[in-house]
């Protein structure tokens, strides 16, 4: 058998080449997600527990009064969407450390592309995977009194993507310099738990919270993501707009508009990504 190999052409570095690199890193995340069924299934356990055990259980004992007149599980649904996205996103991000341990990272590091493109591809990949995952949770909307309004669902998907992008970027910040997965896992968990519990996913941030708790929630970027998703969801629910107005996030007495929520989350995500890319690009 003789095979003659004709030499091939390789592009000089430019925006088109960088874009292809971003795309293929993104695509790899999707392929790996698709082939990893265990991960898809296991990542549903926690949101389902939150939604049905916490939602129905706690909801039954505290009644609807606290949540602007709507059912607790309806109030909780957007929070569960946002927090489930957080976990999938962050685990996608720290797969970078697996790549390092298993060697594949080196294949990317020696390629003639900027490391920013690699980090960007990872961030978009993690965000896409997390959003796809949340789509399945959206199917459960009807069980907690949320109608299947296409416009609302479309807006929610976009918002969840932004939240997932920000959280993946946060995960990347932890992951880019880490050498071992064992050191990253505890750090990520230490980071995720407070972000989740202080986000208003489980209780309204606006209301009779202790001042310190309220303050912490306001500096948590996830709070803004949860607020945006919740207000968009509640607007499609019977009696929801009034509830949305009541639980909406406020700076002092000023209600934060949904677009500003999105700007905060996207801005923090962009900043985290920029720092991750910078750290990743520095010689080790």
């Amino acid at each position: 058998m003789t095979t003659t190999l004709a030499p091939v052409r390789v592009a000089a570095r430019g925006p088109r080449h960088e874009l292809r690199a971003v795309k293929v890193v993104w695509l790899r995340e999707l392929i790996r997600f698709r082939t990893d069924r265990g991960r898809i299934i296991s990542s549903f356990a926690q949101p389902l527990l939150f939604l049905f055990v916490l939602g129905k259980g706690l909801g039954a004992s505290i009644g609807a009064g606290t949540f602007g007149g709507i059912d607790y599980s309806t109030f909780l649904f957007p929070g569960v969407l946002a927090t489930s996205v957080m976990f999938t996103a962050v685990f996608s991000a720290i797969s970078l450390v697996w790549d390092r341990e298993l060697g594949f990272l080196r294949e990317m590091l020696v390629a003639p592309v900027s490391r920013t493109s690699i980090v960007l591809g990872k961030a978009l990949g993690g965000a896409t995977v997390a959003t796809l995952q949340a789509l399945v949770l959206l199917v459960l909307a009807g069980t907690v009194g949320v109608p299947y309004d296409p416009l609302m669902l479309g807006a929610v998907v976009v918002l969840l993507f932004v939240v997932a992008f920000a959280i993946t970027s946060l995960g990347l910040l932890v992951a880019v310099r880490a050498q071992q997965i064992q050191t990253v896992m505890p750090r990520v968990q230490l980071l995720l738990a407070p972000l989740m519990f202080l986000s208003g996913a489980f209780f309204p941030v606006t209301g009779a919270l202790p001042a310190w708790l309220h303050g912490l929630a306001l500096v948590n970027p996830v709070t803004y993501g949860v607020d945006a998703v919740r207000r968009v969801v509640l607007h499609a629910v019977d009696g929801g707009p009034a509830a949305a107005a009541e639980v909406a996030l406020r700076w002092g007495s000023w209600t934060v508009p949904v677009w500003l929520d999105v700007v905060v989350v996207a801005g923090v995500g962009g900043l985290l990504l920029a720092v991750s890319a910078w750290l990743f690009s520095r010689p080790e």
Binding site: M1, A11, I31, R106, P283
Partner: protein, 339 residues
């Protein structure tokens, strides 16, 4: 390009071209941190590898081999000196270097969850190969390493030898000018090793490629056009395997006699040479073993057996580094440069 004049000597391959690898006064010091002293991994290496050569880089663990290769591959920045690969500077023209080199490391860098084809596809995209070239090149390199029929199989189902072949195929995807093979056959069975070398030979015949190899196997070192023996961050010896063996300068004559004690005394007294003892035999090191043997017989000894051995590369390695070539496990500490 000023290095051309330095880079080639007349009579070597590729006289009219820039060397594939040109290294001048290369130094790399890793800061120790805290109370630990700095680690001087590379202490001044000069090296030229002409285009088209199969070049072997040998040395015990911790000799600075890995660090040097990482510098040449742009993964580590040198502390001092300069290095050019395929005519490009490894610091100032990183991307150009990367476009022109192929890498096969001793640890796998494949994604085991992807198929063989997906791994190659990833490589093609991230190296910015012309889209029209991707499919034919993928098929060609897979056929070359005999994995054409396994293209759609997930890499985790591959044996060690198949993975290594796939890595070589991937390293060749973008038509590199220099292929770095870092211990490419470590952990492979003899059959896979032989197969792999067939591919490398064929590759060198068909493509205009320079191969930069590190190995601990003597038979692989013997294949090289030239070898550099590295120790303590410096090059201790450089030349063709034959030149290096000649530089050791002695054959090894091993003689077993009826009475070794008497023979030893006689040989020392009458021939004036040093002897050593080895498992029931005398050993004499001499510049020309074949002329030495007749003189031995003139002594009237009862010789049971006699053998003359030319110095091997292993002897060369031992002479320059104090370690045996194949003895990699004995010296294995924390691997240098892996941090």
């Amino acid at each position: 390009m000023p290095l051309t004049a330095l880079g080639t000597r007349s009579g070597e391959v590729g006289v009219d071209r820039a060397p594939a690898v040109a290294v001048r006064g290369l130094v790399k010091t890793f800061p120790g941190g805290g109370k630990r002293p700095d680690v001087e991994a590379v202490r001044g290496i000069d090296l030229d590898v002409p285009a088209g050569e199969l070049f072997g880089f040998l040395g015990p663990n911790g000799a600075g081999k890995s660090t040097t290769i990482k510098i040449l591959c742009t993964l580590v920045r040198p502390t001092g000196g300069s290095a050019q690969v395929a005519g490009f500077d490894v610091v100032a023209q990183k991307d150009d270097v990367r476009r022109h080199i192929g890498l096969v490391f001793q640890e796998t860098t494949l994604d085991g969850h992807l198929t063989a084809e997906q791994n190659l596809r990833f490589h093609a995209e991230i190296y910015g190969m012309a889209p029209a070239d991707v499919a034919p090149r993928t098929a060609a390199v897979l056929d070359m390493v005999g994995l054409g029929d396994r293209r759609s199989a997930v890499v985790n189902t591959f044996s060690g030898g198949m993975k290594r072949r796939l890595e070589i195929a991937r390293g060749l995807m973008h038509s590199p000018r220099v292929l770095f093979l870092d211990e490419p056959t470590i952990g492979l069975d003899p059959e896979s090793r032989a197969g792999l070398w067939d591919y490398v030979d064929r590759l060198r015949a068909e493509e205009d490629i320079t191969v930069f190899l590190t190995t601990h196997y003597m038979d692989e070192a013997e294949r090289c056009d030239r070898i550099a023996i590295v120790d303590g961050g410096r090059i201790g010896a450089l030349g063709s395997p034959a030149e290096l063996k000649a530089s050791i300068g002695h054959d090894r004559v091993r003689v077993a006699t009826a009475d070794d004690d008497a023979a030893e005394a006689l040989v020392r007294e009458r021939l004036g040479v040093e002897t050593t003892r080895e498992r029931g035999a005398l050993v004499v090191l001499t510049p020309d073993g074949e002329q030495f043997v007749p003189r031995l017989f003139e002594l009237g000894l009862t010789v049971r057996s006699v053998s003359v051995t030319r110095p091997s590369l292993d002897d060369v390695f031992l002479a320059y580094t104090g370690a045996r070539l194949a003895d990699r496990q004995a010296a294995a500490g924390p691997r240098a440069g892996r941090r």
